[in-house]
């Protein structure tokens, strides 16, 4: 089944950026992900393609993180330090709307664990099917569903506390 890189590019890039908080590095890894996929894999279904792409991207992000782990904080770009608050300078449509609810959502998200944030990103932002998320994480579909429900429940709880 042919893959449409244009459709998935932004999503994989968003996923990599979420993991690394570095624009250049995230874009490098996104491109490397597609190249590796095209060189080594032939998937038959759309779900398999997504699973391959996210798995490759995840592994590459881990590798990149390990490589850059020893770099002192001062050496990182300002953008990377500010990565925890994306959308400050260049988030397109969201740029103009810096509302209270947005801050509340960010604050609520900061109260979640990285794994929970990743699940929410995959399910609600990148709209990856549940079955594919389960395959990416190497868990059962039911377990993936439970984790997503828990993460969204926790987020809602945090939001309630923030007055959303």
């Amino acid at each position: 089944m042919p893959m449409d890189p244009g459709e998935q590019y932004d999503r994989i890039y968003r996923y990599c950026y979420f993991k690394l908080h570095d624009r250049e590095l995230a874009e490098d890894i996104t491109q490397e992900t597609f190249l590796r996929y095209l060189e080594r894999y032939r998937c038959d279904s759309a779900q398999e393609i997504l699973r391959c792409l996210y798995t490759i991207a995840g592994h590459l992000c881990v590798d990149a993180y390990r490589k850059h782990r020893d770099v002192p904080l001062s050496a990182l770009s300002a953008e990377r330090v500010e990565g925890s608050l994306p959308g400050r300078e260049e988030t397109g449509a969201c740029e103009a709307e810096q509302t209270v609810s947005r801050l509340a959502v960010r604050a609520a998200l900061n109260g979640l664990q990285e794994e929970e944030k990743e699940l929410l990103l995959l399910r609600y932002v990148n709209e990856v099917p549940l079955q594919t998320i389960a395959k990416i994480l190497g868990i059962s579909r039911f377990a993936a569903y439970r984790r997503i429900v828990n993460a969204s429940g926790k987020l809602k709880e945090n939001l309630r506390r923030e007055g959303f």
Binding site: P5, G92, L120, Y124
Partner: protein, 283 residues
């Protein structure tokens, strides 16, 4: 009472759905990443690369199927009309060569020109097959098949080319004949006499196939082939077979030039098919 509770429920659901929508939008903003800088350049590169990958995939398929069996499988798909036309040309040439009273210098001249007049029809078999996908407006669909249009077209043209080569050699032997005094004519002269109208028809026919689309191209080609055939048939009155010997070099040069032109037209035709493939990939 029941109506009020239903309305409340509906309003509650509406608010909940709106909140969900807002939350989803906010999540998208919260997880938004800076705009990628090299996206378009990379996608462009990837589309070129994926075209290469498709081609290598097809090579894999060809290797898996086996090139000879792939080429042989295409024999079945060549139109029956083309085989019938080839057979008719061969039968007519045989009849012409074997008809009584054709021996002798003067009659031999008629045989060679008669056979030469049939050569454009033989060339039409290849031209009709090369323009078949376009004339039936199936080119775009055939590009998406297991083997690309380019491979299929090349295989079929290869088969018909070989068949035509065999026929031309046979026709040249038939046209060579003799002078009635037991001496055989030159096979080179007979070959050139047949090859020249064949190459002229091929060259013009391919040019027409490239210029015009649809069934019109085939009609124009048949018209052009008929014109060349009639012209060649009328030639013996003005140009006698033995005189050809004097102008052999000119005939050879003309055949060579037309051969080069025909090959160029083929290359352009195949190139245009590739461009069409690239276009469909990029769009």
């Amino acid at each position: 009472m029941e109506g009020k509770s239903w309305k409340k429920k509906w309003q509650r659901n509406r608010i909940r759905n709106r909140k969900k929508k807002v939350l989803k939008e906010e999540l998208q903003c919260a997880f938004a990443a800076p705009k990628p800088q090299r996206r378009e350049a990379f996608l462009q590169l990837l589309s070129e690369r994926s075209l290469g990958t498709e081609q290598s995939l097809e090579t894999d398929r060809l290797l898996k199927t086996g090139l000879p069996s792939f080429v042989l499988s295409q024999v079945m798909y060549i139109s029956k009309g083309i085989w019938w036309l080839s057979a008719a040309v061969f039968a007519a040439a045989c009849l012409l060569a074997a008809s009584p009273g054709m021996a002798g210098d003067r009659n031999q001249n008629q045989v060679i020109w008669g056979i030469s007049a049939l050569a454009p029809l033989l060339a039409m078999t290849v031209i009709a097959e090369s323009g078949r996908s376009q004339s039936f407006r199936m080119a775009e669909l055939e590009m998406a098949t297991r083997f690309s249009l380019r491979s299929v077209a090349l295989a079929r043209l290869g088969i018909l080319g070989l068949e035509n080569l065999g026929m031309l050699i046979l026709l040249a032997f038939m046209g060579r004949g003799g002078d009635g005094a037991g001496q055989d004519g030159s096979i080179v002269q007979a070959g050139l006499g047949i090859l020249l109208p064949y190459l002229l028809t091929s060259f013009l026919g391919l040019w027409i196939v490239r210029r015009f689309r649809g069934r019109e191209a085939v009609y124009y080609c048949f018209g052009m082939a008929a014109c060349i055939s009639i012209l060649v048939f009328m030639t013996p009155g003005h140009m006698r077979y033995p005189e050809q010997e004097r102008n052999l070099l000119w005939w050879a040069a003309a055949a060579f030039a037309l051969g080069v032109g025909t090959v160029k037209q083929y290359v352009r035709l195949v190139g245009e098919t590739a461009e069409l493939v690239c276009g469909s990939y990029n769009s």
